[in-house]
Amino acid sequence: MPNIWHQYSEKVMEHFENPHNVGEMENPDGIGHVGNPMCGDIMELYIRVKDNIITEAKFKTFGCGAAIATSSMVTEMVKGETVEEALKISNQAVAEALGGLPPVKMHCSVLAEEALRSAINDYLNKSKKED
């Protein structure tokens, strides 16, 4: 039997089988909600921010293996980053951190990037209002 799912890297498989940071967050500082059912991927990303630093990130994802793995990876990557640094995380960076994605799955990493931006923007909007 050949290496199954071998378009997926070991890292993708790890994050698919044991995704990090799964779940909802109570009173998050920012929520990102992206994707659409037509394309079969929906991501919700929650962040907690303290002193401009993302201290916690969680996600819920309806999507394929790559969608789950990128969600898991992006929530790992943002933790401990400043909001500005987090905004610089690109979909390529997420894909690279996962050891690459098959071409047909790159859209999942785009979604992860969008989910993160959406959550950060939500946080920034909220904090503006509080100002």
Binding site: I4, N36, P37, T61, A67
Partner: protein
């Protein structure tokens, strides 16, 4: 998890995609590669012996659908048979009319061919289906115009397994003096198919769906029906399909047809019972699981289920890691990311279509296999539902419990 997957018994539940060639089929083909390898068009004895083998196979394939030998055109598969049927009739009949009636749940081989013909100036009417995937013959009748040259409605659907009332459609086509084609790739060899009973003028079949080899299929063309070739060249197949005969595959198809005819009755009973066990077992264990397709007018081996709140490919991947092979209506790897046109045609929302799995059973499926799926799949669903933003909170509590 993955580490163990390599050692465990693999369970194949994707027989609707393709079947393994039966050992007797493989055996029958053996001598036609390097021994009786002659070109059937050659006059000498090497050609003679393959010519004979091909004609014996043709008889067997014809017998399976109650046709005559000379009504069988061997092709390279179901796709070619569908293309030949539609384009062949379209080109032959274009002086009589330019209108073709088909359905919204045809296989890509029919659907895309219709799209091509549309570009060539033909007019296509797609009749809809109900929530079970059933076509109403009345809709077909209403779609007929004086320009209609062909009605092409599949026998049973490859995804949701719904069996269409094609005998009625064949009857009304005959009454209106319009040619009737049916894509029977999913039915021939699995349920009884009789070209005279259903009044088909053209019928497509493919060997690899009935434990025959890949790379060979057939188009039945009723005697007297003129058809323009799709592959032009030599004089093979009564000048209707050129190309050196794929003798081993044709011989294998013949053997598969012979075996199918014998085993059909028993097998369809056996698979229906296993299939029902699977569906009932899943519905008993897991909430928000729904059967796609018709509950009784369906292929014996087909279980297509909608598992709300979870994406199909994630389930497929999780099952594959457990050594279980199935298919999904999701298309997270296809070029356009759109879910199956068949599932949307029966009224599913995009997320529901993306949440659908097809488990198709076959000759080697055992009670134990079904037991294993009933053990593994609910766990996978629970795990993925816990991650899904679509899972209702009430739902989630139950699943986590």
């Amino acid at each position: 998890m993955r580490k163990y997957a390599r050692k465990m018994k693999r369970i194949y539940l994707d027989y609707a995609a393709t079947t393994p060639a039966h050992p007797e089929v493989v055996k029958a083909m053996q001598s036609y590669y390097s021994n009786a390898f002659g070109n059937s068009s050659s006059i000498h004895s090497y050609g003679q012996e393959t010519r004979e083998a091909i004609e014996i196979a043709r008889k067997k394939v014809a017998a399976l659908i109650n046709a005559r030998s000379e009504e069988i055109i061997f092709t390279s598969g179901g796709t070619e048979a569908d293309n030949l049927a539609l384009k062949g009739i379209a080109y032959t009949s274009k002086d009589r009319g330019n209108h073709i009636i088909t359905s919204s749940i045809e296989h890509h081989a029919v659907m895309e061919t219709c799209d091509f013909l549309k570009e060539q100036g033909f007019r296509i009417t797609c009749v809809p289906v109900d929530k079970y995937g059933l076509i109403n013959p009345e809709d077909v009748k209403k779609a007929i115009t004086d320009k209609t040259i062909l009605i092409s409605i599949m026998h049973a659907n490859n995804e949701v397994g719904t069996i269409q009332p094609i005998a009625e459609i064949g009857k009304l086509a005959r009454e209106a003096d319009i040619l009737f084609h049916t894509d029977a790739v999913q039915t021939v060899g699995h349920i009884p198919v009789d070209v005279n009973e259903i009044r088909a003028d053209l019928l497509s079949t493919s060997a690899h769906k009935l434990y025959g080899p890949k790379g060979v299929g057939a188009l039945y063309v009723r005697k007297g029906t003129k058809i323009t070739s799709l592959l032009h060249g030599g004089e093979q197949e009564n000048r209707r399909r050129a190309g050196t005969h794929n003798t081993p595959a044709i011989v294998g198809f013949g053997k598969a047809a012979e075996l199918a005819q014998k085993e059909l009755q028993h097998e369809s009973k056996h698979l229906t019972s296993l299939r029902n066990k699977l569906i009932n077992g899943l519905q008993k264990q897991v909430e928000h699981i729904y059967l796609n397709g018709h509950p009784t007018k369906r292929l014996p081996n087909n279980a297509n289920i909608r598992v709300d709140f979870v994406e199909g490919e994630a389930m497929l991947l999780s099952l594959d890691l457990e050594g279980i092979a199935i298919s999904t209506g999701s298309a997270c790897s296809s070029s356009n990311l759109k879910p199956s046109h068949i599932l949307t045609a029966i009224g599913l929302q995009p997320d529901q279509a993306h949440s659908s799995l097809r488990l198709s059973l076959g000759r080697e499926t055992t009670e134990e296999d079904i037991g294993r799926v009933l053990e593994v799949l609910p766990q996978i669903i629970a795990r993925l539902r816990a991650m899904s933003p679509l899972t209702k909170s009430s739902m989630q509590e139950k699943t986590n419990a």
